[in-house]
């Protein structure tokens, strides 16, 4: 479809656009290109509209009953206005032409601009032919193909029943599922016009066991971004066995003795160490704030020579996989560190403008109330040449971190994360279970202490909270050895 021609207008067009109300299709081109033209005519250097529609549902089984089914329906839009390197972001629930126009007008006014006066020159914004990943990749039927409310309940009750047969000393058991269907449309004054449908689903267990004063709690979650039938194919028997086994081992575990230890970190969710200790510090958001020690280290060695790491949005069905980012840029595969040398940063549009690093298809946001920011997607340490046994064999006394909890990194590069399931390593062998451990350190120091990577790369679904809200990500790594790290305990 051709853009309407808006050259020198005698007055602002008073057009009544009839965009399709329940689908972001080509009919949105006319109103959005008009608004983008007005924004540029007002003096903005760049304008972007982000439209979003969400159909979300969560379901929870507690013990042997479904205790919650929560649908959420949401629509909204955000407009971002750049003037030089400064920008503002305005969001609204009102997707009518007048609602979007009001949001644009507010954004312009914040930047000291106003809608063009009658007889102003209004540049034509030629949006590209709608780049529709939902159509190209057959996603239109995804929502309808997902599990019904009845099926959600049936699967979760069966799964929770399985957990009851596997676990002992159960205080409470929960199986939780959510489906987050999101349709997005991005239109910007550089001609970007792209639509996508995302389907993020996750299901997992939360088990709390108690025996007198002894307690243990274990969580396990798996995720999908491209399989509508994900829930009905969930292998809950395997996950129930794993969760029950971990909970029973941790129930009588001793508290870890604090100190400095060599540590082996398990694959899959063990990758949270790289996510927290390094990944966040490679986001251009951190360069802008001058809160990363790696800002001027591109091309320099920042990690052990045995370490290579990626961030990408392409791995099939991984939890951080996206066909385009929330700024309409196709997904990329970004080499972060190669043999210890820093190769690239993770950049969104604003980060690119402000730091000079090229965009990497990493502009992400939780929803329309957030401006996109540089965020990780599927982030992992590449596999190495060692076997897992070789990692353990290299340690006389240390700690094996089998299951990690969450973590965070502060403004000075200090990171920390919790260990949900740990074991003492003595003379290369796993001995007793340990609980209550927190790993703490400095990003610049720890990356040079990851000295051994095994050959068993595994990925795990996670959630990452930062400046643009909570987004779905993958963390991952093979088993790795950290030569020394501070372990907080009792």
């Amino acid at each position: 479809m051709q853009s309407p021609i808006l050259l020198i207008s005698k007055e602002l067009p008073r057009l009544t656009y009839q965009s399709t109300p329940d689908r972001f299709d080509e009919t949105w081109e006319a109103p959005l290109s008009t608004l983008l033209g007005w924004g540029r005519a007002a003096g903005a250097d760049f304008i972007e509209f982000f439209l979003e529609r969400v159909n979300y549902i969560s379901c929870m089984a507690e013990d042997d009953a479904i205790t919650s089914i929560s649908p959420r329906l949401s629509t909204g839009a955000g407009v971002r206005v750049f003037r030089g390197k400064a920008d503002c972001y305005v969001s609204t629930n009102d997707l009518s032409f007048n609602g979007l126009k009001a949001a644009l007008e507010k954004g312009l006014s914040i930047m000291g601009l106003q809608l063009p006066a009658p007889n102003s020159y209004v540049p034509e914004i030629n949006l590209e032919l709608l780049r529709d990943y939902a159509v190209k990749k057959g996603k239109e039927s995804w929502l309808a193909d997902c599990s019904s409310m009845r099926e959600m309940g049936d699967v979760l009750l069966a799964a929770n029943g399985e957990l009851a047969t596997q676990a002992q000393f159960v205080q409470s058991r929960r199986a939780v599922y959510f489906r987050d269907w999101q349709e997005v449309l991005v239109a910007s004054s550089d001609g970007t016009f792209a639509r996508d449908i995302r389907l993020s689903q996750s299901v997992g267990y939360s088990l709390l066991c108690a025996d007198g004063a002894q307690r243990s709690s274990i969580n396990k979650r798996v995720g999908s971004t491209s399989e509508p039938g994900f829930l009905r194919t969930w292998n809950y028997g395997k996950d129930a066995e794993e969760v029950a086994d971990s909970a029973s081992k941790m129930l009588y575990a001793d508290y870890v003795e604090s100190g400095n230890y060599p540590v082996v970190m398990a694959n899959e969710f063990g990758g949270v160490i790289f996510h927290e200790a390094c990944g966040h510090l490679l986001e251009t958001t951190q360069i802008e704030r001058k809160t990363t020690p790696f800002a001027d280290k591109k091309g320099e060695k920042i990690a052990h020579e045995n370490l290579t790491a990626w961030d990408e949005g392409l791995t099939s069905d991984a939890f951080g996989t996206i066909d385009m980012d929330d700024e309409g840029m196709p997904a990329q595969r970004t080499l972060l560190i190669e043999n210890g040398i820093l190769k690239n940063f993770i950049a969104d549009r604003a980060g690119s403008v402000r730091t000079g690093n090229p965009r990497t298809g990493s502009g992400r946001r939780q929803g329309y109330t957030y401006a996109a920011a540089s965020r990780m997607r599927n982030t992992y340490i590449a596999p190495g040449d060692y076997s897992v046994e070789e990692l353990f064999a290299s340690i006389d006394k240390g700690i094996y971190c089998k299951k990690m909890g969450g973590g965070s990194v502060g403004a000075t590069g200090q990171f920390n994360f919790a260990v949900d399931e740990a074991y003492l390593i003595e003379n290369g062998k796993l001995t007793k279970p340990l609980k209550g451990a927190t790993l703490i350190g400095e990003a610049t120091e720890i990356m040079n202490k990851i000295s051994m990577c095994s050959n068993d790369l595994g990925l795990a679904a996670g959630f990452c909270g930062s400046v643009s809200g909570s987004v779905y990500v993958t963390v991952g790594q093979p088993h790795i050895k950290v030569d020394s790290i501070t372990v907080g305990g009792r």
Binding site: A65, S70, P71, S172, L208, T438, E442, G489
Partner: protein, 446 residues
Amino acid sequence: MPKIDDIASYAKDTAHKLGIKKYDIYGSAIDETSVQVDQGEPQQMKASQRSSVTVRVWNDEHSVGVTSTTDVDPIGLELALKTAHEASFFGVKENVPEFSPEATDPTAPHAEAKNPQAPVSKLLETLVEAEKELLAAHPAIKGVPYNGLAQRDIDRFYLNSEGAVRNEGHSFASLYLYTKTEEEGRKPRSAGAFRVSHGLDELDINGCLKEAAEKTISHLNYDKVKTGKYRVVFSPEAILSLIGAFSNLFNAQSILDNQSLSTPESLGTQIASPLLCLCDDALHPENVGAETFDGEGTPTRRVALITNGVLSGFLHSSGTAKRLNAQPTGHANMGSKITVSPHFYHIFAGESAEQDYSLDTADNVILIDDLSALHAGVQATQGSFSLPFDGWLVQNGKRTSVESATVAGDIREVLKSVIYVEKELEFTGSGVAPRVWVDELSITGE
């Protein structure tokens, strides 16, 4: 957002059309503006107007379904009511929620606390000036990477099909300033401060600036602390964070779900030192965001949780109150499963301590100013925590910043190991509390 009377009218007509006889709706609308700056230049400015409602319907089999939506027009409400009705057939069969018995009781007097929002240019000017003053406070302060000045109007309402209607509105302004230092041969340090008030004119900007600067400067001279057991003093902010992380102790829904460190029988038992008292007080005069009713329309109130160390109350929704033979306390959040959460904690001294303590004369004491990473380092259902903190080692009254350390323990032991609760209360945004002294906590340093 449409007016509450219009929403009530849409809902009534649509429910009638769909054959829904019993429903209630909780909703809110937010209008907010915020700015950030970097080295005197605007960094990002944000504005948002959004609204959302949660509708809850009972079907003819008396089970309940819920849906939330941001489409608060007749079409959006109809879709939400239909979806909630569909979900209701999968709702719980036991302990089905009902309307709060207090949904039409009078609420505490509420002065409409709406202040006009200042223009963005005024916000920017204020924040740029604050950043400038903070950068000038000490040569080591090279940036204020985390800063923000925001103002927000919130309107909220509750209504049900039996005629209950409540609504109220508030305005807030808030400021946070977090510095970062750089000195040759020294590690970067960071500290900050936060303030909130009913409006920009009332915001204590100088206080925020002064606190951020003083804290930052106090962390410039840092050292490692030896691993071991220490007497620890929690700042008001730190003790409120820690209590908040273990709020399942007082949460009746968590107790009924076996997700709490307490049981119904814990009520009346000694869970803390007799020196300690704790209330949740939504209506506390210092609570800028005071809400007079909860998500079920129940009036909020002051609830004693720990009295002289004895567990003296739980936080309830109408459903948990019914199941535990208690009164609702106004702590419910509307949802498919009603959840319960605190409003505003108030910690204060209980019985008199045998001895008074002072940081001016303290020796080998750790003063914890701020706890980090509570989402990761707290095992709420196990009672344990292991958390990084910002703070100081106090030796003969002199404070030296602690470089990098964690504090670990069990909340039940912490509460029982309180040896002193100071008199002077401090407002933190999430509650009011004094400094609280605790014996024998594990500190991991070097």
